[in-house]
Every structure is written in C-alpha cells, then in structure tokens.
Symmetry: C2
Subunit: 515 residues, 2 copies
C-alpha cells in the first residue's frame, strides 16, 4: 500500500510551503472517520446537548481568536481585519443555530387528530423532522472559517443533530486542524463524543467521503467543476443522497439609465468596492454589470475605473487560482469587441493581482458563441460591464444567464418609488427573480447576512438544491420528516406528545397550537 | 420520420385491446407540450385562480364520476367500489390543496428588519417561496386517479403555481385522456390557459420530458427500475432538476411475541386484509412480516392462511405485471428454506392471481446472499413471513432493510403502554424510525390519509428526495425560496409588504407576526 501523502500549509504571499500539517486520508482513514461520526449520532439526538456544543464551540473559537486569525492569514493572505470579521460572523452563526435548536421550530411538528369520516379515514398522525445521519461538509477556499470547518454547514448540521466529517480545503489545512481541534474539544467539554466532528484531507478523501454508504448527505461550497463531480458521485450511489452544492454564480447587476443619470459616481464607486472586496474572491462578487450606453454610463465607468485603480494589488488564495484568474482575464480580453479600460493586472508580477474590468456591447452577449465565456464566473477582482442600448437588450442578456446566488438592481428614484411611467422597477424585479436566490435593490450583493430570512442559494449552478447554506432555514437541508400513525402516547417522542411537554411551536390540524 | 405509434387501451381481464386512444408523443410533441406549459406559468402566478382551478377540477371530476369510474375499471380492473373511493380521495385532495393555497402558509414568508449592529450587518430581508416552473408528473399504474393525471403531484404542483405535463401510464391511457380533458376544461372555465395541464403518452416521451430544458422538476410514482432511470436522467442534465420519485418499498411489519400471544387471530386476519387489498398492488403493502416462532406465531399464520385463502382471485393491472408476480413468487419459493403454506396461485390460469404467503427463518435474512431477494418488493398479493427466535434476530433483519415508505409494529398491551420491563415498544419504535417515512403502531400501512401531518416518502428507494407525495407539505417539492434585500416597498410583492395586505401567516425576525 502506498504511504499517505503529506499535506502542506502554503503561504500564498510567497508560494512557499510553511509546514507539514497532516496526511491525506486514505480510504481506510475516511472509513474510520465516517464510522466514528455515524456512531456519534445517538449522542446528538437530544437538542440541549447540541445547543450546548454550538455555544461552547463559539466560546472556544472566540477565545482562540488571535491564534486562529494568525493561522488563517498565514495560509490565505485575507488579512487580519477581514479574518477577525469572519471569525465574528462564524461564532455569531454558531450561537444563532444554538438559539434555533432551543426554539425547535425547525422540527416542523404537525399533529392531526383522527377523523374517521374522511375519505380515506384520518388516523392520529404526528409528524416531525429527524436528522438524516452523518454528513459530509466540503470546505470552501475563500472562507477559511465561515464556510469551512466551523462554518455554516457544520453549524447547521450539528444543529439538526447530524455528526459532520469535514473535507478540509487544501488552501488552509492548518487553520482547519486548529478549528477541528476546538470543535472536538467543545464536544467533549459538553459531554458529547469528539467524533461529532471529524476532519479529513485530500482530493481522493473527498471522493471517498461522498461515496461512503454511511454518509447521508453532503454540503459543498466551491467550483462548478469540483462540485459537479461530487454531485454526480452522490447521484450515482446505489442509494443516492442529497447533495447541497454551491457551485458558481455570475451575480448580474442591472443599472438603469435613470440610476446612472442620478448617481453614476456613487454606483461606480460602490461597484468597485463590491467587486474588489476580498480581492474579488466572493461567491457573490458582481461579475456582470449591465450599464447604459451614453454619457451617464460613461460617468459610471470613469468612476469605477478610478476607484478600482486606487485599490491595492492583492494576494489570491493560491497560485493556481492566480494563474486561472490571469488566464481567464486574458481569454476574455481577446474576444472580439471586448475592451479593458482598466486591465486587471498581474500585480508584482509574481504573487499579487490588480483589479480591473472589461467592457463589451450587450448585443454581443445575446446570441451565444464565444462571448458566452463572459457569462461564466471569473474568480478574482474583475467584472464585465455590458453596455446596453435599450430595455430589450437588457432582457436579451438576462434571458441567457444561468442561475445565480444574487441579482442586483440599481434603479432611479422614480423607478424605486414605482412612479415611473414605464413601471421599470417592478418589471426588472420580476425579470431577475427567476434568475437568483437573492435580489438586491440599490445595494450590493457582497456581505451575506446571517438571518432568518436569508437565502444563499439559487437556480443551478448557484446551487444544486433548493436549500440555503446561510440563515436559519439552512438547518432544513439535514432533516427528513417522519410521521407516526396511531402511536400509543407512552411511546411517542416527547416532541409529539399531547400537552406539548417541550413547549415547541407546533401545528395541530393545520393551525398553530394554542392560537 | 417514423410515424408516431398508437396508444391502446387494454382490458386486463382479458388481455385484449379495447380501443385506440392516442398517439405516443414524438420528441417534437413533447417539446410543444412543455413549451405550452412553460408559457402558462404567468397565468398561475396569483393564488386565487389556482385555488379556483383546483376546486373547479374537483367539481368536474365529481360530476363525471360515473364515466371516470367506468373508464378506469375497464382499463385497470380495480372495480367500481375501489375506484369510486379513489375518485373521492382525488377530489378531496384537490379541494384540500385549494384550501392550502388560500391559507398561504406554504409561502413560508420570513421578514427580517434591518440591524446594522450585527456582524455582518443585517439589511431588510424578505423571503418567500416561488414556483419552480413547469414540472413533469409520471402517473402510477396502481392509482389511475389519485396518483395519476388528477392525482397528488398534479394537485400539489398546481397549488404551488407550477404548470404540469403528465406522462400517462400505459395501463390507463383512456382514463388519463378523460381526466386531462376535464382538468384542461377546469382551467379554461376559471380563466386560465388549458395548457396549465398537458398530457403525453409513451416511454420515449417520458425520457424526453425529464430531459427537457424547460422542465424544472419531476414527480414520479412507480418501480425502482423505471424511477431510477429517470432519476439518473434528471441528475445527468446540464442543469440537474429535483426528481421526487417514489420507487419501491417492502413495508416491514414486526409482530412481537406478546402481540401474537394476545391477538394472533386478529393480526393474521388484519395482515391478510392489508396485503390483499387492491390485489396486493399498493406501494404500502406489507411485504415482510417478522413473526415469532412458536405457538402464538403458528396461530397467526393459521389465521393469515385462512383469511388469505378466502380472498377471491383478482386481476392485476396488466399481464406483464401478472407474469412478473408469478415469476417473483416462483423465484422466491425456490430459495432454500422458503415454504409456501398458502402458495400464491395463478388464479384461473390465464388472467387472475390468488393471494398467498411464504415463510422463512429470520436467520436466513440476516446474512445477505440469495435470500436478499426476499427483501425486495414483489408487487401483488404475496407477503413473506420471517419467523424469529429472539429480539436479536429482529434487529439483524431490520439492519439489512433498505428504505421504506412505512414500518409497522404490532405490540402487546404492556409494550404499547410502555410498562413492559424490557421497554420493547420504545426500543422497536426507535429501531424502525430510521427505516421509514411513516411508522404505524397496532394498525396497517395500507390507506394513506390525505392530511397535513402525512408523510408518504422515506429513505431510498422509498423516495429519491426527503419530500412527501401525499399531504399538505407535498406542495413544498415544487417551490424554492427567494429573498429580497432592501427592496423599496412599492416594488415588493404584496406577500412581503408591511401591513400584511394579503393576511398571510408570516414570521418577522423569527417570530410569528402579530403573536
């Protein structure tokens, strides 16, 4: 048997190896991790220990904040400010899910009293949701904390009662080990098995994980290519499992003529800020902007150019990503009719990249062909501005877009107030809604709030399922309903008993209990 | 181009063709039907017309009851009594979904007020669920009404706002045409396009349908082989779509020693009634019964044998199914150690089949090998009784079962009351819960109530998703969430506006509005 390959932590600021962190998990090691997680299911069956685990994990992560931020910065170059914010987001998210566990509404308890007079007769039926089992979580490159080991999928899965095996992202193995250690310690300190959270490294381990018969579901944030391969593997299993993947998103922005006339400079500067945030490495980076031809649109571009040019060159998460960015920009720039008023650059020529943007006539995007490349996500600080002549050209481009995490509208005052004669605001809102999981008006898509009403997903390839990876309802992806028919009161789970001993929000015969 | 093949209605009582009903849909015809359904989306966007359509459809189906029952009986031989009941179930279901549309809770409206102090800051977020688009529904052989053209998937999809293209089952094309005509008339009479409901015939049309780029989701009830092929096609699309398939279920029953001692005769007779209902052609037919060795179990078998023997020979839905049933019984009977105290027979030797059951030692099922055949569904009036020596043997068999729609426990009085020293009732309930979508205690799984708390689904192959095909929550399978961020009040859909103009159940900042 070949020896397991070492896993190195690499400094993206230099491209040099920092330290040897772990070994890639062999098929046997993956099996061991999955079996351990599977065995931990029973310990997570009750809600109070789950809530305690989530809170203890948040406390331990906060307490180790300096160490975590330093480890993550050394591996990702995202910088202490951003990483401190990301850690705060991560621990807020863990505590939010603890509150969700306490409240218990996600159990979706429905109770029907018997009614023998119906066709067919109705027995006593009591339904709630149960955890699916041990789940696989694939960490994202661009969020070493909030979408990785201690991130949203781990938090929502533990909230649901599902043990987790995380497949670490190769861009931050040391941070992953550090966080997994803290999560496992949190489990032990709350009386749960450490194996409620497991960690494996390596590409092959990721494939083994999604194929393992005891893995009941998977969550993924990453590229279309990697995510689709894992989705296909999940679907090809003898027993297919839910695969909740976030694969890619162009995040279109439509700037109306009125908006450009009223505030071209503010929109240009705002766009520059959003597309360069985190060196353009957000899933919700605006990657395609429909802006009007003419003077107002020109002002917008001038403002975008000066704001983007003032952005410092940044380090991408790894050198492979830097190569892909520069190749992607080059291939797009070579297309007929594409111009680069501010060409994205190669920074210091070795490790960094500079922000920029491309322009093209919207009509070029309406017909397919080689310009379809401009409708694909390009990770990094670049966006494509498509100049349109009229509303019909906006519609023609929107009609060609694949699914997105977000769609953004920049509207004029009258359009926002619904007082413009053309009713353009409402029409555009209706036009972009089928394209996205979240619609932003007069703002920017970057910054994804952790909130009950959040939806971070959307039509394929934004997501491979209809669920969200951010926000309270993310817990739903790890659950399935089960109904108990005519079950004697003494045997019913307490969640389903008469008198509501656990004080849960429940619906009886279709109406809120006690309402 | 080859001419489209004719579709014949066949009398299963004779195996003879009755009439030529339609033509199989060519790829072009499928495309036309899907495009027409896709175009009908807008007309279904508002809820009141959807509710009106569902109610009008129920009225028209009821009014044509005699004709429908006659048509369905001629093609399925299910008999007027059963079909009259099935029609009542079908129209009740349509009206139930109309009430669900009126109530609007399924929109799952969540509103979060802005909070700039959070990390990350929280904008104004308003989320609800929108229809996925035109959907494909695959009719089931065994329910020509309730799980076919006017059945649960059609009703829940229309309730969700999704136009439907139904792929008719070849066992009842004339009934399908009749019902589709009434549904299309109901649409027109409520001011909606007839193409809110389309119908296609033919195997190839079914495959074309699931691959069509404008089909946004699919619902299926049928066999593991057919369902898995369509599931695979849905997953292999450039843009995969949700495929909600109900593929197969063994529906295990565990009879404890105490239950057998207390009421062997009642259990035997009840089992005979459940397994022979509809000539054993229910998805929830109990197909594997764990019964104790010894005297009480022997009494149960004697009672089962006499009740099943008294059942009249029945006609299966088609002759292919009859052949598969007889082959399936023969292959199972040839396994070592399998006995047939009441051998399922070939009825009149040509068109009917007689009910029966097989027995085997439970220990034979615990180890894999050729006896695994006994853990596969066999459609028709047969069940397998596995005799166990102790609780360990029960557990060993349960551990080998695939997913099921239902699991049933027959418990003794003390076990039901939770007063037996072994705590066997609670233990068995916990043991079967991971195996099934519905757990029945001291009853039988046949008869699936249409109710808010119903869950008709379960782990694969019972279902290919975590959703249900029966009950109020079935509407969820055709929806996806979308969130609106900082959207001006004038542009918000009325469902999401301040003041709740539509009077919907909503949650604000995680709490019920007005509570």
């Amino acid at each position: 048997m070949a020896a397991a390959a070492p896993v190195w932590s690499v400094d993206p600021r230099t491209g040099k190896r920092r330290e040897r962190v772990a070994l890639e998990a062999t098929t046997d090691a993956v099996d061991t991790a999955v079996r351990a997680a599977h065995t931990a299911r029973g310990a997570l069956a009750d809600r109070p220990p789950r809530a305690a685990l989530l809170r203890r994990a948040a406390d331990l992560l906060d307490a180790a904040g300096e160490e975590i931020v330093a480890a993550a910065d050394a591996e990702t170059a995202l910088g202490p400010a951003r990483l401190t914010g990301e850690l705060a987001r991560t621990t807020y998210q863990l505590r939010s899910f603890a509150a969700i566990v306490d409240e218990g509404g996600f159990l979706d308890v429905l109770i029907d009293r018997p009614d023998p007079g119906l066709t067919p007769p109705r027995p006593d039926l009591r339904r709630y949701k149960i955890p699916l089992g041990a789940v696989a979580v694939y960490a994202a490159s661009n969020f070493p904390l909030a979408f990785s080991v201690p991130g949203g999928d781990t938090a929502s899965a533990l909230a649901a009662g599902c043990p987790v095996v995380v497949k670490a992202h190769p861009d931050h193995p040391a941070t992953s080990e550090l966080c997994a250690g803290l999560l496992r310690r949190a489990a032990v300190e709350t009386g749960l098995p450490a194996d409620a959270v497991g960690l494996v490294h390596g590409f092959r381990a990721g494939v083994d994980l999604v194929r393992h018969p005891l893995i009941a579901a998977a969550g993924f944030t990453g590229s279309v290519r990697g995510g689709r391969a894992l989705y296909d593997a999940a679907a090809a299993r003898p027993h297919p499992i839910p695969f909740h993947g976030e694969l890619g998103s162009l995040n279109p922005v439509v700037v109306t003529e009125a908006a450009a006339v009223e505030r071209a400079e503010r929109i240009g500067a705002g766009l520059a800020g959003s597309m360069t945030l985190g060196t353009g490495q957000f899933c919700v980076k605006p990657g395609l902007v429909l802006a009007p031809e003419g003077a107002a649109g020109d002002r917008l571009l001038a403002s975008l150019a000066s704001a983007a040019a003032a952005t410092e060159a940044g380090v991408l998460l790894d050198h492979r990503m830097r190569d892909a960015f520069l190749d992607g920009v080059r291939d797009r720039t070579r297309l007929p009719g594409v111009q680069a008023p501010l060409a994205p650059g190669d920074g210091d020529g070795e490790h960094t990249v500079g922000a920029g943007f491309l322009t093209v006539a919207a009509a070029r995007l309406a017909d397919g062909g080689p310009h379809d490349l401009l409708l694909e996500e390009c990770f990094g600080p670049v966006t494509v501005v498509a100049r349109y002549a009229d509303d019909a050209e906006i519609g023609a481009v929107l009609a060609r877009l694949p699914g997105n995490l977000t769609a953004t509208l920049q509207l004029g005052d009258a359009e926002s107030a619904g007082t413009d004669p053309a009713g353009r605001g409402a029409r555009l809102l209706a036009e972009v809604t089928p394209l996205a999981g979240r619609v932003v008006v007069n703002g920017w898509p970057t910054s994804v709030a952790v909130a009950p009403a959040q939806h971070h997903g959307g039509p394929y390839p934004a997501a491979t399922s209809t669920s969200t990876s951010v926000g309270a309802t993310a817990v739903e992806r790890w659950l399935r309903p089960v109904a108990y028919q005519d079950t004697p009161p003494a045997l019913l789970p307490p969640e389903l008993r008469d008198g509501n001993p656990l004080g849960l929000p429940r619906r009886i015969d279709g109406r809120a209990e006690g309402a």
